[in-house]
């Protein structure tokens, strides 16, 4: 894979929390149009890694490039950069005082400066796409966990970003709702969206991922295709992880 094709590129990325080395010399590429799953034991740094992409976490050294733009550069408009990266949180983080429609159209109105009418039209379309056309005026408090997360995905998609990041999107959901969220994510992948996803859902990884990154103690220990990773992991720690979660 050449750098021209890379949507996200990590080069020599290091991050410390005080003296704790959270990310250790990360070098990796998420190519355009591909789905990368990041997995590993807790504390391995996977959430930290994905949060550095849109600068929810900062890094001490190294370079992160998203869609050709160096995200760490001094002169960059952080807000504009973030509007072009879709981020889905584990805890949904919907705004409870706004309806579903308002949550999804907020970015369009305030960052893209669209009119309310235009923004709401687009938002309605997105909510239809995630299967919530009847819940546009509902408030987060009235929605189930699965519904809230789908609204969150619609919200992340609203400003038409070229890349979507998912930080354990189904970990906070009751088991029966995991399926509906994964279905939306599968559709996105099938449409060619570049996705980087931290998850424990190995079934999803097997079906949808182009690449699986295994992380442990701040390092990417393995980068393989799902078949290679699940059948014959290269490292011992990966084997142990896989047997633990089965």
């Amino acid at each position: 894979m050449t750098s021209n094709n890379a949507m996200i590129e990590f080069a020599g990325v290091n991050k410390f929390y005080g003296s704790y080395h959270a990310l250790n010399n990360i070098n990796a590429i998420v190519p355009q149009g591909e789905v990368v799953i990041v997995c590993g034991p807790s504390g391995s740094g996977k959430s930290t890694l994905i949060r550095t992409v849109n600068r929810l976490e900062n890094i001490q050294s190294g370079k992160i490039t998203v869609n050709g733009i160096d995200t760490q550069s001094e002169g960059i408009n952080v807000n504009k950069m973030r509007s072009q990266i879709g981020f889905v949180f584990q805890q949904f983080n919907l705004f409870p005082h706004l309806s579903a429609l308002e949550n999804v159209s907020l970015g369009l109105i305030k960052v893209q400066h669209l009119s309310k009418g235009q923004a709401q039209e687009i938002a309605q379309g997105l909510l239809n796409r995630v299967g919530l056309e009847h819940k546009v005026n509902a408030f987060p408090g009235e929605l189930s966990g699965g519904q809230q997360q789908r609204v969150a995905i619609a919200r992340a998609l609203s400003q038409n970003p070229p890349v979507m990041l998912f930080d354990e999107p189904t970990s906070a959901l009751d088991p029966e709702m995991v399926g509906e969220v994964l279905a939306v994510m599968r559709e996105l992948a099938a449409e060619g969206m570049t996705m980087m996803c931290v998850t424990h859902e190995m079934g999803f990884a097997r079906d949808v991922a182009n690449k699986v990154w295994f992380m442990d103690q701040g390092q990417i220990l393995e980068e393989s295709t799902p078949e290679e990773f699940f059948k014959s992991p290269k490292t011992e720690r990966a084997s142990k992880f896989l047997s633990d979660i089965r």
Binding site: L56, S83, F89, H97, G141, A172
Partner: protein
């Protein structure tokens, strides 16, 4: 004591109005309402400064909070009493002085309440807003403050009740509020100070107690609203 109430209730309620300036309980309430009303926007500004990402702004706001909280309200009243006429060049009615001191004092305490609310809001809310590309101020205006102000509403109302009690300090600079009116009654009667002051105490007690009970009911409603949302995302 009932007879004092019967004879002087008008004086206690509205002072010497319409033969003189408005006073008594009416003035107390006006001072409290205006005080909190004017302090509210100031307190939001100070709270935003306290949580601002700019260190200089944060430090100056913290210094302001420290100074205002370290001084008695009476000190502010006297500062205002002397400073305002000196600055404006003309003499100023006691009510304005009192209001000025109250507004400065209350806006700092309210700011601390709001700041606590801002810091208690789950970090995920701010993160989600910033991840969408909203600026810091947009985040505060659209996501943070609407939620925070609703959450801290009971505390704001408690502060309003405190303000009612603080208006009694107007007595010291002869502002014609309830305590001053009671004092006037006392100087008319001279022989029944115990009854007069007991009556005064009862009036304040009734007023504040009713308001406090309302605040408690409001607290329960706000808690219920917050709990149902928290359970969903667990």
């Amino acid at each position: 004591m009932i007879d004092i109430l019967q004879n002087y209730w008008l004086l206690l309620l509205v002072g010497q109005f319409p033969n003189g300036p408005l006073g008594g309980l009416a003035m107390t309430l006006i001072l409290a309402v205006c005080g909190i009303g004017l302090a509210f926007p100031c307190s939001i500004a100070i709270a935003l400064a306290l949580t601002s990402p700019f260190r200089a702004l944060r430090a100056s706001a913290q210094a302001l909070v420290y100074i205002v909280r370290g001084l008695p309200l009476l000190m502010f009243i006297f500062w205002a009493y002397f400073a305002i006429p000196a600055l404006l060049g003309t003499s100023v009615p006691g009510v304005v002085t009192m209001l000025f001191a109250l507004v400065i004092y209350e806006s700092v305490y309210l700011a601390e309440v709001i700041r606590g609310g801002i810091q208690a809001l789950p970090a995920g809310q701010t993160e989600a807003a910033r991840a969408m590309g909203l600026t810091h101020l947009q985040t505060q205006r659209i996501v943070v403050l609407p939620q925070v102000l609703y959450n801290v509403l009971p505390s704001i109302l408690s502060q309003f009740i405190s303000t009612i009690k603080e208006t009694s300090l107007g007595y010291v600079i002869s502002v014609n509020e309830l305590t001053f009116a009671a004092n006037q009654v006392n100087s008319i009667l001279l022989t029944r100070p115990f009854d007069v002051y007991l009556l005064l105490a009862i009036i304040y007690f009734t007023l504040c107690f009713i308001l406090t009970s309302c605040v408690r009911l409001l607290e329960l409603r706000v808690e219920r609203g917050r709990k149902s949302l928290r359970l969903k995302t667990q």
